[in-house]
Amino acid sequence: MKKKGFISRVVTPFVTVLKHAAYKPVTHKYPYERLEGFPRTRGRIVLKMDECIGCGACGYICPDFAIMMKPVEGKDLTYPAIDFLKCSFCGLCVEICPRDALEMQSVVELGSSNYRDLTYYPERMTEPEDIKKLLPELKYVLTPVATKEGMKYIRRRV
């Protein structure tokens, strides 16, 4: 362990803290600004109904029992319906799907005043989520810190 003098143990903390006043705040004003997701970010699950063969593998693997196969009018097969109240966005269903009929959007802003609305039936599963509708006040989309621009920002901060 390094030994330091009394002055640097008492005065240096004060100076170091005061230096932070010069740095830019890192807060995002969330409903007006939002971070962009990464390609792999796990969020809302979208169903491609043409690809789905109704095998039910997603319902089998789901650790939260959030997926159940439901019939759709005018189709012979059953398609997955997801209860997003139970879903933990682990992405196992997307991975196990033999036809890649499920994919994930980087949108996690799902919410409703009625918990029944969070059960997405196959018809609704096919429509991707629109961020503009979920956050009507959104003005800017920010790039996350780990991208190249973000790293530049970090370097400036240090």
Binding site: P13, V17, P144, I154
Partner: protein
């Protein structure tokens, strides 16, 4: 006499000898729900009782109904800060049962993610620790902010900031994305510079040392006898780290050493944690430089080759071990999880027996062990 002084139903709960019972908790004394019942006469503490179980979810029972891939998801909910290290123990136990060795590239990816998790968990824990010593939340917010680039990297690799669900028995779920190497190296440089700032502002701060040095001294023999885990054990001078003593993943191929301290007090525990961040930064750099090429997962054979396995892994809070007993089905018959915090809580309960503790020392003492209620409750 005024009614206030004579009323038998008065609020102040007195036990024998004019002592108070103070409740610290149960709403978020640290993070999660749990309660410390402190027996005190104002400033001197006579007894600490830890009341856990507010968030017992029965993970051991749940795992009996899940197959080995599904089990990953509920298991991670034990410690949200440190999900992949928790998972590492389970995945190792299953691989031992099935006699599978993951491919080398998967081992390296696991090591990188484990160490990034450890850094982020230690940063968070140190921030809380500083706050427990009566700091306004400045340091806590700095560490939370500086954790953000790490979480972004983890999100790029695994798809989630935490609860990655990324390790499965037999490997990892996906390969590293393109261009991740530069970002990891950049972030490690950034973190190293931030750690210097922490040293100036906080680790060597006189008031912080006044508050934590000599508080809760845990001697070496007691640490072993009471089963302290992780940094708390190493701060008492025991040279033990599962990463080296029972090598797993890519750790045997990487070069690092165990951080130990001989004082065994609260400051030493925080200091060990702080120095471990530097070791982890070094480990991530080594792993990303030396990562081999190849596949990242391997299928499990249909039947396990063994009936029982005990696997250990080093989480940020200390050693976790999984005892799995199986009868040959795709689901375990019994999983016994012994997390680090469960052991450390017992040590916290014993502390007033060997040392004089003041009321103001209780929060730094507790936080210095970095216990996690969700971890202990399972």
């Amino acid at each position: 006499m005024h009614r206030y002084l004579t009323d038998p139903f008065q609020e102040i709960e007195e036990v024998e000898g004019g002592l108070f019972k103070l409740n610290i908790g149960p709403q978020h004394p640290i993070s999660g729900q749990g309660r410390f019942i402190v027996l005190t006469d104002g400033e001197l503490v006579y007894d600490i009782e830890v009341d856990i179980g507010y968030s017992h979810r029965g993970i051991e029972k749940i795992l009996e109904y899940k197959n080995y891939i599904q089990a990953v998801v509920p298991l991670e909910r034990m410690v949200m800060l440190d999900t992949s290290n928790i998972l590492m123990g389970f995945v190792r136990a299953v691989e031992e049962l099935y006699g599978v060795e993951p491919p080398p590239r998967a081992n390296y990816i696991r090591t990188i993610i484990n160490e990034l998790n450890r850094i982020s968990s230690h940063l968070y824990a140190l921030g809380l620790y500083a706050e427990s010593a009566g700091w306004n939340p400045a340091v806590f917010i700095w560490t939370t902010v500086d954790r953000e680039p790490i979480l972004d990297i983890l999100e790029m690799i695994t798809g989630a900031r935490w609860s990655h669900s990324f390790f499965i028995p037999g490997g990892v779920r996906a390969d590293l994305p393109n261009g991740i190497k530069e970002r990891i190296l950049d972030t490690m440089d950034f973190l190293e510079r931030r750690l210097e700032v922490y040293e100036d502002a906080w680790i060597y701060n006189e008031t912080f040392r006044m508050r934590t040095e000599g508080v809760g001294v845990l001697p070496r023999d007691k640490a072993i006898e009471w089963g302290a885990a992780g940094p708390s054990l190493r701060a008492s001078g025991v040279k033990y780290d599962t990463r080296l003593n029972e090598p797993y993943s890519a750790y045997p191929e990487l070069d690092f050493k165990i951080v130990t301290h001989t004082a065994g007090d609260a400051y030493a525990r925080g200091w060990v944690r702080f120095e471990e961040i530097k070791v982890s930064i070094d480990l991530v750099r080594q792993a990303i430089e030396n990562i081999p090429k190849g596949p990242v997962k391997k299928a499990l054979p249909p039947r396990p080759v063994k009936q029982e396995a005990l696997a250990r892994a080093e989480t940020a809070r200390g050693e976790i071990n999984f005892y799995i007993y199986t009868e040959g089905r795709d689901k375990p018959y019994r999983v016994k999880i012994s997390p680090a915090s469960f052991r450390n809580f017992f040590v916290i309960e014993q502390m007033p027996k060997i040392q004089e503790i003041k009321l103001a020392d209780v929060p730094p003492l507790i936080y210095s062990f970095d216990p996690w209620f969700l971890d202990a409750d399972r």
